[in-house]
Structure formats: C-alpha cells, structure tokens
Symmetry: C2
Subunit: 124 residues, 2 copies
C-alpha cells in the first residue's frame, strides 16, 4: 500500500501510461481504442494492466456501455502533484535566474572571474 502521492507519481512514471492519459485528454475512449496505438508493441492484456494502474491511482475512471468500458480522464490526482510542486516553484525560478546570470557572465568580457562552479549542467 502506497501513499496516494507516490501512487500517482509512479503511475505517471511510464510512457505508455502517459500516452494513454494524453489520448484521454481528447475525450472518452474504449479500451480497444486506447490500446490501438500500442498493439504493435504490446498485447491487449498489457494495456488493460496499464489502465488498471491508472485506475487505481485515480487518474482514469471506467464506465460501462454494454460490452464497452468507456474510459475518462480524472485529473484530480494531478492537483496533488501540482500542490506538491508548489514548494519547489521558487527553486525552479531561482535556478533559471542563476542560469541567466551565468550566461551573462559567460558572454561578457574575459575580465569576469569564473562563475560559482557551473557544476556540470545535466541537461543543457
């Protein structure tokens, strides 16, 4: 049993599942419709499993229409992530500022001394 936030994060930690969510942004879809783009890489039960993960995380809800299970996006859990991120927003902007200043010092004349350890930029 995981806490809800962990469950949401881990549900999102898979490109197939994120693609399913992206598809659902455009509206309801049945399981086979959702599965269709992946059937070259994965079987239908595979997709069903991914859907179940999303469902357990509360990101997707399934209805019933005869033999179809129309799936809908439920963005509620994303709000919790959004809220969690809030605390880091200032840091994100800070590091943007630092990058800006770093770039300034780098593009300025040679007389400027070395910036405070650019520290390997992971992703440029």
């Amino acid at each position: 049993m995981q806490d809800p936030l962990s469950q949401t994060f881990s549900a999102l930690a898979d490109p197939t599942r994120r693609a399913i969510l992206a598809r659902l942004r455009e509206g309801e879809a049945s399981v086979t419709e959702l599965a269709e783009p992946f059937l070259s890489q994965m079987t239908l039960p595979g997709v069903t499993k991914h859907l179940k993960v999303l469902e357990k995380a509360g990101l997707v809800t399934k209805g019933r229409d005869a033999q179809w299970r129309p799936c809908r996006l439920n963005p509620e859990p994303l709000k919790d992530i959004n809220e969690w991120m809030e605390a880091y927003r200032a840091h994100m902007e800070d590091s943007l500022d630092r990058l800006g200043e770093y770039l300034k010092t780098v593009t300025k004349p040679v007389t400027q001394n070395a910036p405070t350890t650019p520290s390997e930029n992971h992703e440029p």
Copy 2:
C-alpha cells in the same frame, strides 16, 4: 534506460526520496545529515541508494568536501514535469469548476456531509 521524464517521476514516487528533497530545499546537507531522520526505519546504505536514484534522475547533485559529500537540490528536472503538467492544467480547472458546482448542489440541503478525511499530509 528510461526516458528522463519517467525517471524523474519514478524518483519522486517514494516518500523517503521526497522527504530528502524537502530537506534539501532548506540548503545543502551531507549524506549522514540527510539520513539522520530515517535511521530509525532504514540503514545508511539504504539512504545512499535513495540518494543515488535522485542523483541519476538529476534531482540532486553531490559535491565533495574532504570526507563529506554535500548534497544539493537541482530543481531542473522538475521543470520538465511542470511543463508536462501544463497540458492538464485546463482539465484540472475544469474539474475544479465541476467540484464547485457539485458543492453548490450539496451544500444546499441540510445534509452537510463529513469532510473527506483530512489525510495526514506527509509533506507540507
């Protein structure tokens, strides 16, 4: 090898790791300092492993000061998550509206239902 976004999400899908990040928001800390709050539930190598996950995801960078490895928060990967969430922001507001309307319909009659379990929030 995972795509970077999946790697970030999955790094965040653990309460210990999120707590470490939260601690790092307040500034640099050595591994033992970071580990201290968890040592009742987990050994030091356990924490080291979590740190390595965060490091691989690019969320934490380690420096060196003699025998210490001062760790710092690197919020860069969070920007990607933020960007990813952008596409869902409209949906979140939509569902907020729906919640608002739902509450309106619910708060009309006398049947004020109980608040949905405050649920101890781990990280403020």
